[in-house]
């Protein structure tokens, strides 16, 4: 299973290491750095690297690499999934997971890592259990602990660990019982030059923030559950109920968690909220190009579209852009050649538009860039 973990920052420093079995020298990371050098972007580093004696399985999150070292056969997805869970836990504890945060809370981080794995095998990964074992740091508690001499570490076994519902701690009490549900839907579409949809799919999530006392047993039903092509659940959801009645029945964990994610695939018709009218012509006369993009709403069911961001990865030959927008602002990063236009709200009466010239290096002929659009 997982032998050691190295956390590496973007500049290639191993700033934290943890070993669950005997110590493995950090020089093993050199293999990783070799691949890092070869890869054009951090995303391109293969997740599994085989070295003569070890296997390095890494994930890239929050611009840090979490490199797990294994020595024997293990399901790679098992390790990847676990590393992501580690990062999720850090984010849960410290509200964000960056290099400086990890450095600042290294004791808690170390205690967490120690609790999450035993001999390389996951021991406790439920955030509710961990939080009972090791209290998340906050200023108030730090002060209180200094005064009273108490520690962040619990001396008793969390009640949830032994129960059938390990994700929930017992004895939860709130004066205001409340539950919040966030429905997040992402539409992913590939649209060809002529504007017709090649494929479109929806990925949805239901994120919850549950603050209810005791042992609430909730059920959530959908108006039309048949729409879901495929779903996945938090372990608290009862599979049987879903299979027979299409009702989500669950005893929720305390706090924030993702209850379910679903996928609506290519079989159903997906309404795409915006359209893009574009005219991008590079190397029109001499070493210049022209760009003219207009955004418009489409099938919005009366809702306004907000926080529109348009990104165009420009070809390498682009030197700079001189563009004018009638709404929002744009940035062009000459290093990554990424044009980002933060549009904001789309107003139906005055459609957002960006136009202008692009200065090009004389050289290789570029082709039409594929604009990828994030709408949220």
């Amino acid at each position: 299973m997982i032998h050691s973990l190295f956390i590496i920052n973007p500049s290639g420093d191993v700033f934290m290491e943890k070993h669950w079995k005997s110590v493995i020298s950090r020089s093993v990371c050199d293999y990783f750095f070799d691949h890092q050098r070869k890869a054009s972007s951090p995303e391109d580093i293969p997740p599994v690297i085989a070295t003569p004696h070890h296997y390095l399985i890494s994930v890239y999150r929050s611009s840090m690499f979490f490199v797990a070292v294994c020595t024997t056969e293990v399901a790679p997805l098992f390790v990847v999934e676990f590393l992501h869970r580690v990062v999720d836990t850090f984010e849960d504890y410290f509200s964000e997971c960056t290099e400086s945060i990890i450095k600042e809370h290294y004791v808690v981080v170390y205690e967490l890592l120690d609790e999450m794995l035993d001999n390389g095998f996951p021991l406790a990964t439920e955030s509710n259990i961990l939080k009972e074992l090791i209290k998340p740091p906050n200023i108030l508690r730090t002060i209180a602990n200094t005064v009273t001499g108490k520690s962040n570490v619990s001396s008793t076994l969390p009640s949830g660990q032994l129960s059938n519902i390990p994700w929930r701690r017992t004895g939860v009490k709130y004066t205001n019982n409340e539950a919040y549900f966030d429905m997040i839907e992402e539409v992913d579409a590939i649209i060809d030059k002529s504007g017709s949809t090649v494929c479109a799919e929806i990925q949805g999530y239901i994120d919850c923030c549950i603050k209810l006392s005791g042992m609430p047993d909730l059920s959530l039903s959908f108006v039309n559950p048949r729409l879901f092509d495929d779903v996945s659940f938090h372990p608290c959801v009862r599979f049987k109920r879903w299979e027979s009645e299409r009702v989500l029945s669950f005893i929720p964990p305390d706090g924030n968690f993702r209850l379910m994610s679903y996928h609506i695939g290519s079989q159903s018709i997906v309404a795409i909220p915006v359209y893009v009218r574009h005219s991008l012509c590079l190397r029109e006369s001499g070493s210049g190009g022209r760009l003219d993009i207009t955004l418009g709403p489409k099938q919005t069911l009366g809702r306004t579209i907000e926080n529109v961001v348009l990104e165009i990865p420009m070809p390498k030959s682009v030197l700079n852009c001189g563009l004018v927008t009638n709404q929002g602002k744009y940035t062009f990063d000459p290093v990554s050649k990424l044009l980002v236009w933060e549009v904001g709200r789309i107003d139906v009466t005055k459609l957002p538009n960006i136009r202008g010239t692009i200065s090009l290096q004389s050289g290789s002929p570029p082709v039409e860039a594929n604009p990828s659009i994030n709408v949220s």
């Binding site: 299973m1 790679p76 035993d118 001999n119």
Partner: protein, 1053 residues
């Protein structure tokens, strides 16, 4: 002792309050002054002294601070081993956080400081006995993590103890400790396997996952240990934690491969199938085959697949993929496609997850096109994908391409060619080539497309196209002169060596198709020979030789020139090749004169038809590895990889998986078995606990339900009820369920007590076996005669309570009773006036089991009597009986019946005793004390204990009078007497009721013809019918009753 100034400059960005005075820019300072950063050797020692001092202090917060800094060093990978002695002392610290950090340190450095580490062992040994399970567990965790060979025996002992610990958490830790010890000392294997076997038998979900993990690490070859646990593992699978699920499923995949036969055995070879033109056909075939095959699938195999399937909905990608590989490797072909959807869903996850899942899909897709075909569009590349993801998607797209879908795919590929990512573009062009050669229909279109790419402005695109076209032309020997000519022209412009080499090879191979161009190209190449890349030079030579053979007139000299150039090349490969070619083509160099044998054959050697390359997925050869495993991903056998065995031809004996039924029953219906056990046990020690009465009452009633009590729980035997209904009066016979009962009662109510008694007993004669009292059938004397004799114990309520005979619908309730365990023998005051059992001891026994359920005395003891022996039949002896609702002394499973002997005859009767007793069906009778003599007109009391063994069949036995007279009698029991009342709180009742819900629940509305005036009278009536306990109730419209256990008779009106 502790100098704050020093500290503040050296803290390792600790979160503690100690560095509140730390300057915000500590990052830079920290690196420079870090204790272990070297360079400051003097101060280094000082710093560590400082830490040692802090550790030696008796203030917890100083120790904690020191430990935090040390852990900081450990975390950064700096050497901190010289602090070992100072740290290890603190293992006894009371402060839990200090302790934890010491543990962390200890585990890290114990291996290097073995002797000193031994100092801490005794602390752990003590902690292993701690009442706190967390402390026990963490002690074992640390102890087993200390990699010091000397402590192996200690750890072994600790593991053995912990494996039998009460707390599942400690047992889980024990399971984790097993592989640790194994890696430390392989000799312990046998002993560890024994412990492991025990842990595998554990039924706690917490333990099972870890136990299987340990199994995989220690003894994956001992598949025999799994047999007995197989079904349990399957049934627990859904509740095990996610990580355990992955390990268990992977292990069970291997198990299934070794224990079950191949479900696809009769199938056609899969490769063949994938070559079929339309996948719809395939499906049909599959279904047919499935139908044929279905019954042959081992039930356990089916169980495994069924219990794993819901996990496809897991949020954990690793679990989903492990289920997918289980299906891939073991499921019948027609079922494998079920996993596709879930795998597609994973593609929306993190990049790393995508990568691994796509690799698995790519490998699967080479064999099972059909599975992913509906999801073709999910593999379309997004501009935001990472390059390696894009390449994998391309790979899958090409694998999935069929005649019907190739159009869409080619359209996509065309767009990809315009992308900015060079490796991706190259892969896209190759993908087009693969599609073209795999699907004959589109070869020409693809070729045209590729040719048009030759005019692309991007060198890389052109080069890649050339290479692909070369391969395609090879597969299509038909004349493509135009293309070859066009490519020949490219020699001038293309600079990529790979492409140039390809063009040259093509020209050489098909030189007779372009007889004019080829020599010209060779001329050009000879000119630039020295500046070409090696790979191109080799091809120039090949071209020269081939032309020399086909067209020696024009090219012989050129060829010699080229070979001459190559002879002096820097690259030895080229020189060798040149020498080799020269000797074949121009053997005249040697003075032998005539052509050698080789040179005669030169044409055959160089211009032999070459087989076209078959573009194949490089994922094809991964089939040998278990899908989703590390070995599969890297396509090499990883350390410790367990081969997936081929399916056996003959399945090993499935009986190996059979578990003794006893524990299974325990699992499924623990309540029920508990009852059986308790009844048996109790019967042995009546003298101790006075609990023999336990079961007697409840057993009394039901003789015919005896056999079916477990099976019948669910279908509460309406047939039987109806039969019994028939015995009843007309009021109840036609109606169902509880309805009749109430009707009867409410009818009875307005009558006067005495009348009622008469009526009721009349009515119920047949069903409740009331026996006429005297020769005159004087019913009214019955209630009075009994109380007369038992006034002492009779409750006042009894007198005034209308006697309601048990109705048939009670049998329904009885069914409920049987479901429930008999754990509360109730001691009620015996009406017999003697042998009143002590209620305390037995209730204590019970309370241990169910502290919240207290036995209750029967609220009402009905004084209905029934006739056992008629005076007419038996020369004047009349025996009547009634149930006292008190447990019998002799055995808890016996109900006690009070017998009243009355001599109506003229003679004295002597020696009345029980004769032949039944022996079958578990029914047993404890005799009444023999009556030596009964004078005419007198009465005597006796008590008989009957164990009805849960049936309502009448018990037949004989009464003997004197030496010669024998009378067969039948003792019948109404259902209401088999059961026993208990009290419990309403809360508990509802809980128990909830627990029983769904087993068998009868609900019926009762309409009372004349509403009962108050609850009390209704309660009384019900109580007379059956021995129930009343639950204190908050809701006045509901009455709740408890029988022996928690079974209830909720009556609402």
């Amino acid at each position: 002792m502790y100098a704050p100034g020093v500290n503040s400059s050296t803290t390792l960005s600790s979160s503690s309050s100690y560095n509140n005075d730390r300057p915000p820019s500590a990052e830079a300072v920290e690196v420079a002054t870090d204790p272990a950063s070297g360079g400051f050797f003097n101060s280094d020692y000082k710093k560590h002294d400082d830490l040692k001092q802090m550790l030696d202090s008796n203030k917890d917060n100083l120790k904690l601070e020191a430990m935090k800094r040390i852990i900081g060093m450990v975390a950064k990978g700096r050497e901190a081993s010289d602090l070992f002695p100072a740290v290890v002392k603190n293992v006894v610290s009371k402060n839990i956080e200090v302790k934890k950090l010491v543990y962390v340190y200890l585990v890290r450095y114990a291996e290097e400081q073995q002797d000193l580490a031994l100092l801490s062992i005794s602390t752990f040994q003590r902690a292993l006995k701690d009442p706190n399970q967390l402390i026990r567990a963490s002690a074992l965790r640390v102890l087993s993590s200390i990699r010091v060979t000397m402590i192996v025996p200690i750890v072994m002992l600790a593991i053995k103890d912990a494996a039998a610990d009460m707390s599942p958490y400690v047992r889980k830790t024990a399971a984790h400790a097993i592989p640790k010890l194994y890696s430390l000392d392989q000799d312990q294997k046998e002993e560890l396997i024994q412990v492991l076997e025990k842990l595998l038998y554990d039924k706690t979900t917490l333990v099972v996952g870890s136990a299987v993990m340990a199994f995989e690490e220690v003894c994956p070859e001992r598949i025999d240990l799994i047999h007995k646990n197989f079904r349990k593992l399957c049934s627990l699978l859904v509740d095990v934690d996610e990580w355990g699920q992955v390990v268990i499923i992977n292990m069970l995949t291997r198990y299934a491969r070794s224990q079950f036969t191949d479900p696809n055995l009769q199938d056609v070879d899969e490769d063949e199938e994938s070559k079929r033109p339309f996948y719809e056909d395939e499906n049909e075939v599959d279904e047919e085959q499935q139908e044929k095959r279905a019954p042959t699938l081992d039930p356990d195999h089916r169980l495994l697949l069924r219990s794993a399937k819901p996990l496809l909905q897991s949020r954990n990608a690793a679990v989903v993929l492990s289920v997918a590989q289980l299906y891939h490797h073991t499921a019948p072909r027609s079922e494998v496609h079920q996993v596709a959807k879930a795998m597609i869903r994973l593609l929306r996850s993190h990049r790393e997850v995508q990568d691994i899942v796509l690799t698995s899909i790519a490998a699967t897709a080479t064999r099972r096109k059909v599975m992913f075909e509906p999801f073709l569009k999910s593999f379309f590349v997004r501009s935001s994908d990472a390059t390696h993801i894009k390449l994998l998607k391309l790979e899958i797209l090409t694998s999935l391409a069929t005649e019907s879908s190739v159009g869409i795919i080619l359209r996509e590929l065309q767009t990809y060619v315009a992308a900015h990512d060079p490796p991706f573009v190259a892969a896209a062009i190759q993908a087009i080539g693969r599609c073209a050669s795999n699907i004959k229909e589109v070869t020409d279109t693809c070729l045209n497309g590729l040719v048009s790419l030759l005019s692309n402005k991007d060198q890389a695109v052109v080069a890649e196209s050339v290479v692909v076209i070369k391969k395609l032309l090879q597969t299509q020997p038909s004349a493509h002169r135009e293309i070859i000519i066009q490519m020949a022209k490219l020699v001038d412009s293309v600079t990529v060596p790979q492409a140039r080499a390809s063009i040259l090879w093509l020209l050489g191979e098909y030189s007779e198709r372009v007889p004019k161009i080829a020599p010209d190209v060779l001329r050009k190449m000879a000119k630039t020979f020295t500046s070409e890349e090696d790979i191109v030079k080799l091809q120039v030579m090949t071209l020269a030789v081939k032309l020399c053979l086909t067209n020696p007139k024009q090219t012989k000299l050129l060829c010699q020139y080229v070979l001459q150039l190559a002879k002096y090349d820097q690259n030895y490969d080229l020189r060798d090749r040149a020498r080799f070619l020269r000797h074949i083509i121009f053997p005249a160099d040697a003075e032998s004169g005539g052509p050698t044998r080789l040179s005669k054959q030169a044409k055959k050697i160089f211009l032999a038809p070459k087989p076209a390359p078959v573009p194949e997925s490089h994922f094809k050869d991964r089939e040998q590895f278990q899908l989703g495993s590390l070995s599969h991903y890297i396509n090499t056998k990883a350390n410790g990889y367990q081969e997936l065995p081929p399916f056996p031809l003959e399945a090993p004996d499935p009986k190996a998986r059979d578990v003794e039924t006893e524990p299974q029953v325990m699992e499924q219906a623990p309540l029920f078995t508990a009852k059986k056990v308790s009844s048996k046990k109790d019967s042995k020690f009546y003298s101790d606990t006075e609990s023999p009465e336990d079961e007697s009452e409840e057993d009394e009633n039901s003789s015919d339900e005896d056999d079916d009590d477990d099976e019948e729980e669910e279908d509460s035997s309406s047939d039987k009820d109806e039969e019994e209904d028939d015995n009843e009066d007309e009021e109840s016979s036609g109606l169902e369920e509880k309805l009749p009962k109430k009707v009867v009662k409410s009818n009875a109510k307005p009558k006067s007590d005495e009348e009622e008694e008469e009526d009721e007993s009349d009515e119920d004669d047949s069903s409740s076996e009331s026996v006429s009292d005297s020769d005159s059938e004087d019913e009214s004397s019955e209630p009075s005669s009994v109380p007369k004799k038992q006034t002492r114990n009779a409750k006042p309520a009894k007198e005034s309570t209308p006697v309601v005979k048990p109705k048939s619908n009670l049998d329904l309730l009885l069914d409920l009773d049987d479901v429930s365990p008999a754990f509360t023998p109730i001691m009620t005051p015996s009406l017999g006036g003697f042998l009143t059992p002590m209620s305390t001891p037995s209730s204590q026994v019970k309370t241990q089991l169910f502290p919240d359920i207290q036995p209750a005395s029967a609220v009402i003891s009905p004084n209905t009597t029934s006739e056992l022996l008629n005076k007419i039949n038996s020369s004047g002896l009349e025996i009547k009986y009634r149930f006292t609702r008190s447990p019998h002394l002799y055995s808890p499973s016996m109900a006690s019946a009070e017998l009243t002997f009355h001599n109506h005859g003229p003679d004295e009767l002597t020696d009345i005793r029980v004769g032949e007793k039944p022996t079958s069906g578990g029914v047993s009778i404890h005799d009444f004390a023999p009556i030596p003599s009964l004078s005419p007109g007198s009465s005597l009391m006796g008590t008989i204990g009957v164990d009805f063994a849960d049936s309502t069949q009448p018990v037949n036995f004989e009464i003997k009078i004197g030496s010669d007279r024998t009378y067969p009698v039948a003792l019948k029991v109404p259902v209401g007497e088999v059961i026993r009342a208990v009290t419990m709180s309403e809360e508990l009742f509802l809980k128990q009721q909830g627990g029983l819900r769904g087993m068998n629940e009868n609900t019926a509305k009762l309409s009372l013809t004349k509403p009962c005036s108050d609850l009390k009278s209704l309660t009384n009536k019900i109580l007379t019918v059956a021995n129930l306990g009343v639950i204190p109730n908050s809701d006045s419209s509901t009455l709740r009753f408890v029988l022996n256990t928690c079974v209830n008779l909720p009556v609402e009106y």
